[in-house]
């Protein structure tokens, strides 16, 4: 994969230098297994730079020095990477900590604290997919100078599985039955069953130091989490002024490339209007979470001395229906709701036409994304016919009913989210034309995403999330029948969706290690979900972010939750 990338990039350089025609370039790129969209992304101006390990597009050695102030509209507060996996916390953790391999903006895994990516060919993965061997670097050091060893890997895994520790999540780690370190730079483990996303799990497992934390009484409240994190990453902790900012400084002993900057300051700016103003006045150099709002995009593009990025995000906006409510078990209702959704108008009028409509739960950049799913068509007449045929007759008030049940329900989302509130009103209006009564019932974030969502107390919610497993397409815990929290299952299938065919596919997808075969399986998964309308997808979110001109290697990526993932190679031109 990486080798391919470099080849294509070299070709792209030739196109730019005028030595190769674009047609020739595309022919070769497609022959090498790249889609046209991917290939063209190599040619796009400003997008041509290389994977973090290599720097083909870079003219000279990056300039050293300087600082970057990254703005966040939420405050990062938890710096133990095993405790919190929130986007905003990750935004800081990425600079302080490392995992065994990182994922680049093309989705390729690149060894970091490991010396190689385990595979069946290099013996890192057993043929049955049940045993793994990780080889670790011997030149990586913690910020306090202690060497990084296999003990730290074992300790991090043990912390995640510690029943008294509020680990962010345990997914994947709970399949490890046996883990040990034959020597200081090797870790071997056995799994209870083959699990395809296993390398992705370790990609997102940022490691913490055993020597500092093994004697801590309660890892939940250790100073390490909040005021004294120690990692192996490109930047070291300096200070946190609560409610204001966090400062990290270059780690001169970093084992990988960089860092080139002297320091990074993460600044908390809660008001989104002021956030954009501070970007304009130069008080923040880069807009981290939550970037530039869609209504400011037009103005942002005209700003002098700023680079604006309009990049895909891994998040998809959905209407989730609660299958625990009988109304939604009728497929005709779901079909009518989908046909009655004026998607394009919502995208154009509410989101300034920026996001692309979606038919699935995976981001377009995922290798498992199925581009050929049938496209939804907004057609109120169709919605009416579907409901008529299914026996939903309009009552005196125009609201349809069947067997005494009214086609009436609520839609909830986070209160105060102005954009979503407008989208809800569009839905309400077009559904009403079809005889579907929807009431808006929004509530504060801490309420709606608490029991109301997790225990399936809602009718429908408008929700934006990455329903895959981070960078992996596995959706088992979101859509599997055995993962319904309201019915005692773990997991996060709050829609209470049950489909035995889908369960089989999800199970097969999680166990299959051959990516080509997995891709076929996930295409089917997406077809089943689309056909059955388990959820109503609306659009693929885009991330609009900006930096002061001259910040090099700032690369939005759909494979990470926060775009501060490669600060080690950031530099000022």
């Amino acid at each position: 994969m990486i080798r391919h990338h470099d080849d294509v990039m070299r070709l792209a350089d030739q196109v730019r230098a005028g030595r190769l025609s674009r047609r020739e370039f595309f022919a070769r790129a497609v022959a090498a297994g790249f889609s046209l969209t991917m290939a063209s992304s190599f040619l796009a101006p400003g997008r041509a730079s290389a994977a973090p390990t290599r720097s083909l597009a870079r003219q000279a050695e990056p300039k050293k020095g300087g600082q970057v102030i990254v703005g966040f509209s939420q405050e990062p507060t938890v710096f133990n990477p095993l405790k919190s996996t929130l986007e905003v916390d990750r935004g800081v953790q990425y600079s302080l900590f490392d995992s065994l391999w990182r994922i680049d903006d093309k989705g390729a895994l690149i060894p970091n604290l490991a010396t190689e990516l385990p595979s069946v060919e290099n013996g890192g993965i057993g043929k049955d997919g049940l045993s793994y061997t990780f080889k670790l670097r011997n030149d990586a050091k913690w910020h306090d100078g202690q060497p990084f060893t296999a003990k730290d890997v074992l300790f991090s895994h043990a912390a995640i599985m510690n029943p008294d520790f509020a680990a962010g999540n345990r997914i994947g780690h709970d399949k490890i039955t046996d883990i040990s370190a034959p020597d200081d730079h090797t870790v071997t483990m056995k799994l209870s069953e083959a699990y395809a996303p296993f390398l992705i799990v370790w990609m997102d497992t940022y490691l913490i130091p055993e020597h500092l934390l093994k004697d801590v009484k309660d890892l939940n409240t250790a100073d390490f989490n909040s005021i004294a994190p120690v990692g192996t990453g490109p930047f070291k902790w300096v200070e946190r002024a609560p409610g204001d900012h966090i400062t990290v400084a270059a780690n001169p002993d970093y084992h990988g490339e960089g860092p080139y900057l002297d320091k990074i300051i993460f600044k908390y700016v809660p008001d989104l209007t002021v956030f954009f103003t501070q970007f304009k006045t130069g008080e923040i150099d880069a807009t981290g979470i939550q970037g530039i709002t869609a209504d400011n995009y037009a103005e942002a593009k005209t700003l002098q001395g700023k680079t604006i990025y309009n990049a895909p995000s891994p998040f998809v906006e959905f209407i989730y229906m609660n299958f625990g409510k009988p109304v939604f078990q009728d497929k005709a209702v779901r079909e009518a709701m989908y046909a009655g959704m004026d998607k394009q108008n919502i995208i154009d009028k509410v989101y300034y036409g920026l996001p692309a409509p979606s038919e699935t739960y995976l981001p377009e950049a995922s290798w498992a994304f199925d581009p050929d799913l049938p496209a939804q068509k907004f057609d109120v007449e169709q919605a009416k016919q579907t409901l008529d045929a299914a026996g939903w007759k309009p009552g005196a008030d125009g609201i349809r009913e069947k067997d005494g049940v009214k086609l009436s329900f609520t839609t909830s989302t986070t209160a105060g989210n102005k954009v979503r509130e407008q989208a809800q009103q569009y839905l309400q209006q077009t559904w009403k034309e079809a005889g579907i009564d929807m009431q808006i019932n929004n509530m504060p974030a801490a309420v709606i995403w608490g029991d109301y969502y997790n225990k399936s107390q809602y009718d429908t919610v408008m929700i934006g999330l990455n329903a895959g497993l981070g960078a992996d397409p596995d959706g088992t815990t979101r859509f599997g029948s055995n993962y319904i929290p309201a019915q005692g299952g773990g997991g996060q299938n709050t829609m209470q969706y049950k489909n035995p065919d889908l369960d089989k596919l999800l199970d097969a997808g999680a166990k299959e290690l051959d990516q080509a075969k997995r891709k076929e399986i996930y295409f089917k998964v997406q077809q089943v979900l689309r056909d059955d309308l388990a959820y109503l997808p609306i659009f693929h979110y885009v991330t609009i972010e900006g930096t002061k001109e001259g910040l090099q290697e700032y690369k939005p990526s759909v494979f990470v939750v926060s775009n501060q993932w490669n600060t080690n190679v950031w530099s000022w031109a």
Binding site: I69, T77, V78, S84, T85, L86, D164, A166, A167, G168, N169, R170, I171, G172, D204, N220, A222, N225, S226, A241, P242, G243, D244, H245, T247, I265, K267, Y268, V269, P270, D271, T273, V274, T277, Q278, K280, T281, E283, P444, A445, A446, V447, I448, W449, G450, D451, Y452, Y453, N454, L465, N466, G470, T477, Y483, P485, G489, G490, G491, Q492, V561
Partner: protein, 317 residues
């Protein structure tokens, strides 16, 4: 006086306990919880959320949680923040310097400007300056702070570039008093303006009452200079209600200014409270609440005692 003080103190303790019980109950009975923030993360499962709740002790019955919290408070353990797991006392005390920096400056501006305008208004009743001050005060009281703050930022930071658009200091630079003042001026003026209105109205009303009294006429008849009449006689007697007002504003000094702090990116107590509320960080919310309740109760008590010292017409029984 001592007996009165002790009686008031006893009442205050009972009041404080009641306040904490009601607040604790309401907070926990309201729907939602601190685990909600994690609910949409990739790979998050119901059991993970349960584990997070349990690590906060939220799986225990409410009365047990309250008793544990109250027992902790009595021994000086305020609990730990759910958000960043630091001791609540540190979380709160950390915010005091920035909060006081803003509120004390704002209050100082308000008192100097407000009292001057109030006295002027009282002495030149129904004059042009009085009307202007009155109208100004009404406008200042009615303008929403968030809008006014954003306008100040838009005009003076974005358009004119005279002031920074927020924050307490230039990040990444060494400490400099001038830089701090440069950052402080806009939020302090915006916050002070609302207070100016209150102060000038109170001063004006109080002064009008006093300047029409007989002893003022006597003082003038004695041939005292106008300045001594106003500041030495009239204002001293009009100051009683103002002392009460100052006492009532002590809690504000510590609880900060929610809206101004948010707009100007000021890391004070008001923002801490809003952020903690959004997160359902119960221990921090309870900590802020106890501090505020203590200050309200304490400053009311202090104001009552002080008025008696300032105003010879009041005696304790």
């Amino acid at each position: 006086m001592t007996a009165y003080f002790l009686r008031r103190l006893r009442q205050s303790v009972v009041l404080l306990i009641l306040v904490t019980i009601v607040a604790f109950g309401l907070m926990h009975l309201a729907p939602g919880g601190p685990e909600a923030v994690y609910a949409l993360s990739p790979g998050m499962r119901a059991e993970d959320l349960q584990r997070i709740r349990a690590s906060f002790g939220l799986d225990q019955p409410l009365p047990v949680q309250y008793v544990k919290w109250a027992a902790g408070m009595l021994t000086g353990d305020w609990g730990r923040s759910y958000r960043d797991s630091r001791p609540v006392r540190d979380v709160i005390f950390d915010r005091i310097p920035a909060t006081l920096e803003l509120t004390v400056t704002a209050l100082a501006i308000a008192i100097v400007v407000g009292v001057s305008l109030g006295v002027l208004g009282a002495l030149r009743q129904r004059s042009l300056p009085d009307y202007l001050a009155t109208i100004g005060a009404m406008v200042a009281l009615s303008v929403p702070t968030f809008w006014f703050g954003l306008m100040v930022i838009f005009v003076f930071a974005e358009r004119l570039g005279w002031i920074p658009s927020g924050g307490r200091e230039t990040l990444g630079a060494d400490f400099s008093l001038a830089d701090r003042l440069h950052h402080l001026i806009a939020p302090a003026l915006v916050l002070g303006l609302v207070l100016v209105a209150t102060w000038s109205r109170y001063t004006r009303a109080s002064m009008i009452e006093v300047v029409n009294q007989d002893y003022i006429r006597t003082a003038r008849a004695k041939g005292l200079g106008e300045r001594r009449v106003i500041w030495g006689h009239a204002f001293r007697n009009a100051a009683g209600p103002l002392v009460t007002l100052a006492g009532l504003q002590i809690p504000f000094l510590f609880s900060g200014a929610l809206v101004t702090e948010s707009v100007f990116t000021w890391p004070g107590m008001g923002r801490l409270f809003v952020d903690s509320l959004g997160y359902r960080d119960y221990p921090v919310l309870m900590g802020v609440l106890v501090v505020t309740a203590l200050l309200v109760i304490g400053s009311n008590l202090a104001a009552d005692l002080l008025v008696a010292v300032v105003d010879p017409r009041i005696r304790f029984r």
